[in-house]
Symmetry: C3
Subunit: 368 residues, 3 copies
């Protein structure tokens, strides 16, 4: 039975209309829904691809992801309590097992089999909780990108953070595929002014990678200080980044000092991971992680604070850009002009669009 | 003459779109617009069924309800002043009589007869102001439910309150027709855990009533304390509730202690009234009253505060439920699965839907 | 290339839907975008006719108005920096000349010619910055109304102010064409109660003017005090106002005291200018200026504060009126009934509507 008084466009609560917009993400993908430290035996609600998901842990610690809407009277299960491995609805006490079956209705002897919520595959890996809202038969855990293994490697020292963004997730992915914005958007925070040429771009079947080699270039202070080197010292810097999946990008700075001196570092690196999960067309969960293989003492709070400033600048720009696109009288005719340095971002956009199109084709094929 | 610059969907101000939704209330019904103590010779604005109503009192104390939009330049009459029995527009001073006729335009000798606002039948009864926005010829004062007479009976001690709800009014009505949620939603506030069977349901032409008899059941503390009895004492409890009209539900707890002791109460009761008036599809005025026929001293503030906590839990759930329904990508296909305990709520939903359908049929018949 | 993830209705950011509404302003008009003191070498964003405009000054002090959306990746140029006479995009550093041409892309040798923003004619006159978003070939500086020359005349002592209004600009223009609201809306702030007849109205091809002559009428305190005369003294008052263009209205009070006494003023005047620029259908920039040719000492702060109170009353009414129009269930059928005193406002509405219609006809002719 459908409750006719309760259907309204999702745009309403999002504070943003999606009329005329096309969802530009695939469902068949592992998306990060949370950092592992956020998920306990007290359920939390996380919106993922316009889907409300209740996340909690079983007694053995495994994460569970259930659709958050109780099919009885649509109460949010995330307001309920965990009982053993099950989740109990906060309204009338219907109890759901991790596979989504209702195992108890308090006022009757057995639960109707139709009283069932969708359960989503959920895996904890590299510190994050990954969920799959697409076809369950395609949810292969091996599809979680292995690139991020360094996040669990004790050689690397890592911080993570989260920011909600009022922007489409592809804007963030494109932003991190074109670092020529460093000299302008991050002029004060990063102080890296030498990025004045388009990077090389490599496109494979699986991914899009850009790479910029800075030969004996002055070491920016932001990289020099953790490495214990004088700012401005000429060293070789290999700065690259890659789109791994619709859910994952990461960037790398691999540095080589040919004249390290007696106790100096010869090779040292950084990694920065961008885990972007659509909430809706116009909102995104932005989880990030920042790792260094050098530079004791590891002042994690300072690392986190520094990253926060830079991401804050990125997000302010993404949000302002989206506003410019959405509010103008001529928005329908707004053109976008690309330059040479946009190549990686454009290839990334194409790759994700192709995945979305393939998934749509698969769905149509199934339906027919 | 119509001002083309000023027409926009009602959804805008409500903060909620109504596109695709169906209004699920009848116009031909007495709806509560205010508590009597709110209405004085200073007009107030109250939205009722998507209609802005200016409410004030005549010199003889009778309430007046006028459409709040001055037909001259659409100023809100509720920002104006009462002059005798009339209401004066705050913008250019047009003066309206209680029947809605304009009796004065300050800059000319006589008012155009077209300068007229709609006047709604308004009656003060049982402490509340009831208005009728439907066909005036059907506005029979006898249709105000007489069930609520106890609110004016000195035998009963009553408090009232008000809460705005971001939810459809039928969600509130259904909530109070199924009290099996007590054990979960009000676990802490009410501490009534024994409600684990579906109640009996009686459907008549006029109303839907549920009834649960608790035979020699432990008296919950929330009922025991005002009655001066030890919590947990076994007594008989008759807990019932009824849908009286689209605007009115009330619930009752009639208690019988077969072993009252020398000065103890043998029979004692409570009533709780739910007066729910749609503001729009997704917002509701929730007036409530709570009455006891026992339990001096009557600490009205404490009675009010206790009810506030419980209603707060109900409303949080109604609002969360509506959000679950409105935001999800699959909302159009969301199903609702009912269980045995839902019978009264479902019958209530049907009864109101039938009234709405009958009214629509009547309107169509008039139009043809 | 169009970015499909970034198109959404303008209503979204405005917080107001424009579905079903008609834009009721002409593009071919000089509209005030700012007061001159607001514009420096640090760019500011101002929305004008649903268009985001970045405003800054060249080294010679001339104002520049560029469309605020960088055509590269839609960053707001107003977040960038001025370099000489050019504006540098805050995201990737594209540099735009005052005529809108991109003169530099940092990562390549030359800029694509398609990388260009629209530049709007902008002129500083009478203290304000006027912009033209219509056809550039029609942007004749002589079309800026010369009526406002007194704003630059040292004989007059002037203050200015600004208020954002959640209302259509025509509501403000109509409000200042019918001052019979003084006795009601400004009863306390102005204390002018004698305005109880419709004014005379003169309509010419260019403008609409109302005029009310008060023969030997008691001087309201608000006019008496700056003139050093006793409140209530009978003098002649000529109170008139005029719609000069869709962007400009102003009002005048010319006073004549036939019995001024030895050092008293015989003739003294006030002017009040209303510069209303649509942000969108439902929002308006309201710049105002208030000038006196008499009444030392000129306590400009007090003049500004007094005007603020009165404008605050006007705006509260315009905003409440718009809300009344937009929220009611019967809004589509809401009628507007006019009275004799509305004649100037109605003529003003017609004149602007005719300009809009003529412009639309011109656009259609060009298109065919």
């Amino acid at each position: 039975m459908e409750n006719p008084s309760l259907t309204a466009p999702p745009a309403v609560r999002e504070g943003i209309s999606t009329s005329g917009l096309v969802r530009n993400w695939p469902q068949n993908c592992w998306w990060v829904a949370a950092h592992g430290s956020e998920i306990t035996d007290r359920p939390v609600l996380r919106w993922v691809l316009e889907t409300p998901v209740a996340l909690y842990r079983k007694t053995n610690g495994d994460p569970v992801a259930l659709h958050n809407r109780c099919p009885h009277r649509w109460a949010p299960l995330s307001m309920g309590e965990v009982a053993g491995d099950d989740l109990v609805c906060p309204y009338h006490g219907s109890q759901f097992a991790p596979d989504g079956r209702c195992v108890k209705v308090p006022t009757q002897n057995s639960a109707p089999s139709s009283l069932q919520v969708r359960s989503y595959p959920a895996i904890e890996r590299y510190g994050f909780i990954w969920v799959w809202t697409g076809s369950v038969d395609l949810a292969d855990p091996e599809l979680i990108p292995t690139d991020l293994a360094f996040l669990s490697d004790p050689k690397w020292h890592t911080v993570w953070g989260y920011k909600p963004v009022n922007g489409n997730y592809m804007q963030i992915k494109e932003n991190v595929l074109d670092l020529t914005h460093f000299a302008f958007l991050h002029k004060k925070s990063l102080g890296i002014t030498g990025w004045d040429r388009p990077p090389a771009v490599e496109v494979t079947e699986a991914r899009v990678t850009f790479r910029q080699l800075f030969h004996m270039a002055p070491l920016p202070p932001v990289y020099a200080i953790p490495a214990g080197k004088p700012p401005g010292k000429p060293i070789n810097r290999d700065n690259w980044g890659t789109l791994v999946s619709p859910a994952v990008n990461y960037g790398a700075v691999d540095m080589h000092d040919p004249n390290p001196g007696p106790n100096g570092l010869e090779r040292f690196s950084m990694r920065i991971v961008h885990l972007t999960t659509p909430v809706s067309i116009s909102r995104t969960h932005y989880f990030w992680a920042f790792a260094r293989d050098h530079g004791e003492p590891y002042d994690y709070e300072a690392m986190r604070a520094g990253a926060d400033v830079v991401f804050g600048e990125d997000i302010a720009m993404v949000e302002a850009t989206q506003a410019m696109a959405q509010c103008s009288i001529d928005q329908e005719h707004a053109v976008e002009v690309s330059v040479t340095a946009d190549r990686a971002a454009i290839e990334g956009r194409r790759k994700v669009a192709a995945l979305v199109a393939a998934e749509q084709a698969l769905l149509k094929q199934k339906a027919s």
